[in-house]
Amino acid sequence: MGNMKLTLKVWRQGGPNDKGRIVDYPVSDVSEDMSFLEMLDVLNDDLVRKGEDPIAFDHDCREGICGMCSLFINGEAHGPGRGITTCQLHMRRFKDGDTIYVEPWRSTAFPVIKDLAVDRAAFDRIQAAGGFVSVNTSGNLVDGNALPIPKDDADKAFDAATCIGCGACVATCPNGSAMLFVAAKVSQLALLPQGKPESKRRALAMVEQMDKEGFGNCSNTGACEVECPKNISLEHIARLNREYLTATLTKE
């Protein structure tokens, strides 16, 4: 067992319609080898033993790829540290005696379900609006190598495609904008020949759905890029802007 003592200030909210509040929890015996979520596990274990309601938070793969974990830790999405998710945040980044704020993502489009868990279905709806290549399953497609793709384009498309849909961009953006999320998908598919035929329709449809969901507007503060656990670049937002502008100007 470790020896760090911390004070957590955690957002507790019983349900979607309840009024929440910050509750203080002292935690001791925190080891620096623990991940942040393991530290919360220890706290929850304690709460259950005491007959209290454990803190609800989303998590699944615990290796930074599923995008399920969230948490606004000490004023930053996924806490301090760059290019990592909350599950990859380890307690060695904190020191004995620290006070740590733990809050849910704050966005109209991400209503709180309970405590720190939020509903990110808005992202799925944006994806369903156009985040795909319209191709059916078929055993008779052209060979994967029939269409060479410049390595640079493939690499850039990959960089965009690494988005895990965690919502840190929205949570971080002072405007609550989802541009980085939308841009990542639009940009990935706009860069690849397979996605080009419907790239205009895609940009229009995804942006329209994004606006419907109640996300804010991009004002290019660049905060999303800094906090993105996958380091997705603003360059992709610019590409979305280009796609969107040309689509708007040329649509029938």
Binding site: K9, G75, P174, G222, L234, A238, R242, L245
Partner: protein, 211 residues
């Protein structure tokens, strides 16, 4: 925002150029000549209307974004470390814009209203016999309060431009690793030079560096 912003930026270039004529330090003769030309040319007068429309569009657009963005996060964070991931001014464009707008009202009252409506005949004519807008400046900047407000206005403009200039390019989709440095450099240079030029005017008139 980007289009109207860039349009307003282009206006700043014209405005700074014309006003820069005071630095000829010839008792305002060159400046008044240019001002007269700009005040009477039909094309420029038409552009003035366009300019106002552009400004209004920029302000209205800004207000709409501000209200939408506010609605996007009804519950604020108890603890938010904005400084960790963004510059304060990039996240304060609305606030800086409001300061600039307030300044603008005063500024228009000082000069534009006078030249267009109430008239500046009372300020006499300059050495070349033209109506003397330069004298209006001299009169206005006699007050230290006015100078301070103008300098603060220029500061707001500086921060606003520092983000706004390069942000406009990003919004229009112009982002390329090869040119981003250039855009950022131009943006920073512009944000420093233009507001500095403007700020220098009230200061130098007040301190009688130019007469």
């Amino acid at each position: 925002m980007a289009l109207t912003g860039l349009f307003l930026i282009s206006f700043l270039v014209v405005h700074a150029t014309v006003n820069g004529m005071i630095f000829f330090n010839d008792g305002g003769v060159t400046f008044n000549e240019w001002a007269h030309f700009f005040g009477t040319n039909l094309l420029i007068r038409t552009m003035e209307i366009v300019l106002f429309l552009g400004l209004i569009a920029h302000v209205v657009d800004g207000l709409m974004l501000w209200s939408q963005n506010r609605a996007a996060r009804p519950v604020k964070y108890a603890m938010e470390k904005g400084g960790a991931n963004r510059s304060w001014y990039s996240a304060s464009m609305g606030f800086l814009g409001t300061l600039i707008l307030l300044f603008l009202v005063l500024h228009l009252w000082h000069f534009w209203v006078k030249t267009r409506f109430t008239g500046i005949e009372g300020y006499g004519v300059d050495a070349a016999g033209r109506e003397n807008l330069f004298a209006v400046m001299q009169q206005t900047f006699r007050s230290p309060a006015a100078v301070i407000i103008y300098v603060l206005g220029c500061f707001s403009l500086f921060w606003h431009l520092l983000h706004g200039f390069k942000s406009a390019f990003q919004s229009l989709g112009i982002n390329h690793s090869r040119y981003n440095g250039l855009i950022a450099m131009c943006g920073t240079a512009f944000s420093i030079i233009v507001p500095a030029l403007f700020a220098l005017m009230p200061i130098s008139i007040h301190l009688n560096w130019i007469k």
